[in-house]
């Protein structure tokens, strides 16, 4: 069975339409839901096999992935995630990132942290961090600094509300085609952090506004891109009267 781009696919189907359009491309990038088994003896690759249900997508020039509705997060390197600190041990915070295992966040992985100067984070706090190690056999490892040792946007999240949603919604909100956040920011100032692990954190200067923002973002899940302005208009009308 061969899967076609843009159609639904099921595990076991193979990807066959590679490299037809542009002969100069030598590499094909396999994304989520695709796997290529390497036959050790001959240096040939087997055809890429689909490993989950969904719609096969292609991004130019040659990236293939399977798009499916998903709530469970599978860690992968360089993802930005929101975690909840569940335990503190001698050297690590153990952080729940909605994955099958808790992730490790070192005390030293914060800006300006030393052995004596530890970050003040308690159990139950939210941290926005990056995944630096995502190996199937090891716990994922997180950091709250970039490669230059600066924290950037990463770090602890104070106040506001965090809510869980499907990973598709987070992708949708972050998608360039989706003008939701852009339109919302024209209406009112607010802070938003979207963790690709299916968690979104919002904060604004009033509780009611934060509640409305949360609701609008959750509504976006069932709204097509073109109709985003409608839900933002609804948000704006409900917002009137709130300082």
């Amino acid at each position: 069975m061969a899967a076609c781009v843009g159609n639904s696919c099921i595990p076991g189907e193979t990807l066959q339409e590679e490299r037809q359009e542009s002969s100069d491309i030598r590499k094909v990038v396999l994304g989520d839901g695709l796997r290529c088994n390497i036959v050790a003896s001959s240096e040939e690759h087997s055809l890429p096999v689909i490993t989950k249900n969904g719609i096969l997508r292609r991004r130019k020039p040659n990236i293939y992935y399977v798009d499916s509705y998903q709530k469970r997060y599978i860690p992968s390197k360089n993802d930005s995630v929101i975690g909840i600190v569940t335990t503190k041990t001698l050297d690590f915070f153990w952080v729940d990132i909605n994955a099958s295992e808790p992730a490790a966040l070192s005390y030293l992985a914060f800006e300006g942290a030393t052995k004596k100067n530890r970050p003040e984070i308690n159990v139950g706090d939210l941290v926005f961090c990056k995944v630096v190690l995502a190996h199937p056999d090891l716990e994922p490892e997180l950091v709250c600094v970039d490669s230059t040792g600066k924290k950037g946007n990463l770090g602890q999240l104070n106040d506001g509300i965090m809510f869980s949603c499907s990973i598709n919604l987070v992708r949708k909100v972050l998608n360039e085609k989706c003008r939701l956040l852009h339109l919302l920011s024209k209406e009112t100032p607010f802070e938003l952090v979207a963790g690709i692990n299916g968690r979104i954190w919002v904060n604004s200067n009033s509780l009611r506004k934060t509640i409305l923002l949360r609701d609008t973002i959750l509504k976006a899940e069932h709204t097509p891109y073109e109709e985003m302005s409608n839900i933002v208009n609804d948000f704006a009308t409900e917002l009137t009267g709130i300082p």
Partner: protein, 394 residues
Amino acid sequence: MRETILSNNEKSFVEKSILEGLRVDKRNLNEFRNLGLFFGQDVGSVICTLGATKVFAQVSCELSSPRTSRPNEGTIFINVEMGPMAAPHLEVGFPLSDSCIQINRILERTLRESRCVDLESLCIIAEEKVWNLRVDIAVLNHEGNVMDCSCIAAVAALAHFKRPDVTTTGDGEFIIHSPAEKDLVPIVLHHYPICVTYALFDDGKIPVADPTALEERVSEASLVLAVNSYKELCCMNLTGVSLTSPHLILRCSEMAAERSRRIVEFIKSILEEDEAQRAKGNLPKGFAESIALSNLPSNFHNEEIVEKIEQPEIVGIAESSSHGETSDDEVKIIDDNTVTSGKWIEVTSEDEDSSSDEEMPEQTNTRTSQDAPKTEKKLHSNESSEEEKTIVLK
């Protein structure tokens, strides 16, 4: 799977917003989520939805011998199941989780110990054969307030259920008629007790109606009141750690009584609709409608929270007693047919918004006083219960 730890941000946000009279799903403190009731093809099968919470209830009956302590009464058994389908952190099988046992126990107190089901009418031959009712409740989705949802489902299922008719013959035998021979007989319910849950916040000062899963986790305590449409308190349960006052409990019970009256009306209207559809031969086509309705929470109501409710007082103790007939003849089972079914009724969810809450105080006084005797007559026609004591809130 372990339950995800509650983050400090969520906790403090919920607490702060409750203090300001706001809730995360945009409801008022006194507002309930949309209620939906859907009957299945079989009698006594119901899906109840309360917002995103969804519960399935099925009543069944079988013949068994009565308890020696109560030889002329049938029995009622309640079984609640909450598995990982309801929420991933819930475990399946034994040992049952604490929350599951708690819900089961409160339901038993509400349905069995309030004696709302006329158990004597379930007797076929005293000391020998009685009907044994079984209410199976499966929580399909846990999004907070499973208690109310399962109670409504159980009551609606009991009201919807019909058992085969039985005739006793003089020579000590009995005949169980198939639905084709004789119409099925409904279970006699004296009253419909409805559980109403309040989550308590701010040292037990603020009651929040119909808490969501998040609010349940943040709240200090939860107060479950089972009230019937005659404003009789059937069961009360307070769990958690919180200071509370008799004042608050009385205020909550008054609000619960109003809520209960409306739900009972709702259940009755839907039962009637279902009955009419079944009479026409339109069978329900399954529970598809209940799925279409479960969507994101909506409806923002800006009305002020109804806080001012007259102080309820405990006025007195009502006693009712009547005599029932029991048949002492002997019986033989002839037919044990399954139940054929009627028609599907689709129910749009009832609005429990605060706009109608404002009419609450007057309605309570006029309506219940008129309606109660009428329904009572109908319900009590077959009644045969012992003395029952209930507190009346006025």
